[in-house]
Subunit: 348 residues, 3 copies
């Protein structure tokens, strides 16, 4: 892809200062700019870079007054940061749209249906009765099991595995190696010490605008559905167990896990490496800080919790502050005991 | 698949009350019942649902006495819960048995041998001299390296990767993305600060009736074998390092890890996000609670440990209870110091 | 592969005692020796095994004086341990070299270029303009996106996924299921509680001699590059977020994670299940012990840190030692309070 600076300025509603015919083919930070790249300057602390950058074009604020000559062509806009964000999105859309068609060899069951503008990469597998929406991009080596439904504009990067009967909404992005619908971890202990596997017959339902990270695993429900609501963002290497429900617009950072049948509210923020045990209810707008272990229901909305086990942040910090002083407290206790002993002796 | 209620009743040894000719094609919870689904009622606290459920059939106990009219057909059995479990298992067996044959394109080395009733999905790879037992189901995009052996009735879901020379037993289930036999993490530090990779020449031996979760990784031994004994159940995203041995019927929950050369006993229960350092021996029937870090051998059988580092549960809880009171203890210590100082002044 | 003991002795510069014509086809520990295997004896505490081992050959030190008859053929060398290490490496090289050629069906874009002695396994995908060096081994079901570069002698085991525009150096090994270049986890919160995905346009640059574990995920930079420097060794199931930089010869053990934009120095050692929050700088030669949570910059080189949150090891241990005595401290504080109260009463 290649656009002239003039074309980009038109897209952003900006004014060109310099040679608008120069071709741009990529995007770079101003301090890493190079020929053919476009950058932006918004934060004044980066201003010095604009006088030395090798970028072909720089997007700048209307209010920007150069103090030295600049070799790059400028695109002058109301708000350089916002304009740059728009540019990034347009770029991402173009990159995404570029993949269309069915690469060979791939496997599409005759009973599967594909929408328009679909990409099916080589070695992708689409099972019986699967329904794939419009503009869906299925990268190479993805597995889409029988009866799976995938909504419009969803992207599955290479090697995503979706078990039979799962449902994926619209505008979702699943990163490479994510697994949706694996069997829940359910075993009935037997008298002889062995375990009997409990059949897992439910599915996973992922609603719209959900992002799921690389190598993350979401188990199917034992019966019914494991549910990921609209707008949820899940990072890499996360475990979501059977029959979990994650509320709208909740965000989970990498390597966190949530155990069977727990319900996470809406607009929660879960930091990295958090664990949540099974059968809990976590209220809306709960923030759970990194490496916390959640062992109890959270009923009050909007609080921040911390620690393993996790308590409200202020409590946890108070305990932790005291913990740091523990060696000192021990010395003080020793001293006090000796003193009291001496006093006691004097008295008697 | 579709069965009449009469056929299902015959399978379960139950008596039909209502229209036995109605067709059933799926299973649902009683509160989520819909036309074509069969549910069960065992726990009296769900009784109200039976009068309103849209399920076509409900399995009930002999002792159940309806207090209102019921539209669903009933199957009356001795024990509704047990009958339903049997039904789930039969259903799972039928689903599993449905996949048979070699899909194309797949890659089966000419020196590999396949048993009867095998399923090899499209884009699956079976290497030289691999031996695949009867009724093995290898889903699309699995990799079975050279010389791998897989016992009867084992299922590899989509994208499982098994390195050369690994051995997998009978009746095992490996969820999507599991990796068996990756190189152990062994490096010899060199004088110049670099590391030299230590060749990993052993393998992984997985015995019978083992379940392995999605995207879990089990490294091969440096020499000899990493061993997963009969009946072990391993959840998703678990790390099992080189030369580890996991005893019979031990269960590990998601995101736990066990480091090189450690031995975990039989019938242990390891909760989620537990870490076990290298070269340890963990006694039989040890329970390790969530997020614990095990740093020492456990020699006494049947105990429960907790914490990072982990101690016996009662000790850990005693410490933790005191920890919660630490801010209060600090205040008490301050008060006491002041008081003693005053007393001391008074005395002198 | 099969070699005579005589051939192996020649490779190691050793002297044969016994039948040098016996064929060797594998390597085993002396206590697990069997016909056709070669073992070694270096540590005197294993000496007894040499008199009973079924191994066909044993490498021994020049200084070794047998006290009983030995059936195995001996290869006598200066240093048996070193000789055995050399043998392991040669064996690993031979195993690796054995895979050459393009298996079918595979997908190699016409604009991609492949070096000599390359292996491309079946169902591997190599995208547009990808550049693959000499002696690169790409196992089945790997995905190499558009414009990816892979240096000489690098191995990608089955199912590795490398997103478009990533760069992988020479002599690297990526274990099965590793994901390189997945989108960084970046979302801008909106006024209505939803999140807007921030396009991730950077890439991942992996330098030379890097090892990356199974199912590990390394996200691309938002802009610029996520960088893994020469000689870094990363274990299984590790998360490396967008715009992270990991310095030369740093080692990370399984299930650790490092958040966005953090920089890890050179020759650091990160143990298992460690978490490092975003935007930190960790000095060279920092050692981070298992399950630690790093929340602050580490500016002093060469220190060891521990705990969640992590402090210098001596401080953390001092706190922890006091923590273990907390229940006892509480009793002592109770006793002291009572005593002081009594004394106070006596005085007044």
């Amino acid at each position: 892809m290649e656009f002239s600076i003039q074309q980009i300025a038109a897209l952003l509603g900006g004014e060109v200062k310099g040679d608008g015919s120069v071709k741009i083919h990529t995007i770079a930070k101003i301090q890493e700019g190079h020929a053919g790249a476009i950058s932006f300057l918004s934060n004044p602390k980066y201003e010095n870079y604009i006088y030395t950058t090798a970028a072909s074009a720089v997007i700048v604020n209307k209010t920007f007054e150069p103090r030295q000559p600049i070799t790059a062509t400028l695109i002058v806009v109301e708000d350089a940061y916002t304009a740059f964000s728009i540019l990034l999105e347009e770029y991402a859309k173009i990159v995404k749209a570029a993949k269309v068609g069915i690469e060979q060899p791939s496997f599409v069951a005759t009973s599967a249906t594909l929408g328009s503008q679909v990409y099916v990469g080589a070695f992708a597998y689409i099972g019986n009765n699967a329904k794939i929406g419009n503009n869906v991009k299925i990268y190479p080596q993805c597995y889409v099991g029988d009866n799976v439904r995938i909504g419009d504009n969803t992207t599955l990067y290479a090697g995503v595995k979706i078990y039979a009967n799962s449902e994926i909404g619209r505008n979702c992005t699943l990163q490479a190696g994510a697994v949706i619908g694996s069997d829940g971890f359910g075993f009935a202990p037997q008298a002889d010490g062995t375990y009997k596997t409990i059949p897992q017959l439910g599915n996973v339902v992922v609603k719209d605008n959900v992002d799921i990270g690389a190598n993350t695993t979401i188990d199917c429900a034992t019966m019914g559905s494991t549910i990921i609501e609209d707008g949820v963002k899940i990072d890499n290497l996360i475990q979501v167990a059977h029959n979990v429900s994650i509320g709208k617009n909740t965000v989970m950072a990498a390597q966190s896990g949530i155990s069977g049948s727990s319900t996470l509210g809406e607009n929660c923020i879960v930091a990295g490496q958090v664990g949540i045990i099974g059968h809990l209810n976590i209220a809306n707008r709960t923030t759970i800080l990194a490496q916390s272990g959640v062992t109890k229901n959270i009923t009050k909305e909007g609080i921040t919790i911390l620690g393993s086990p996790a308590y409200e942040q202020a409590d946890s910090i108070r305990m932790y502050v005291a913990y740091r002083k523990l060696p000192d407290m021990m010395k003080r206790l020793d001293t006090l005991e000796k003193k009291v002993k001496t006093m006691d002796v004097q008295e008697s």
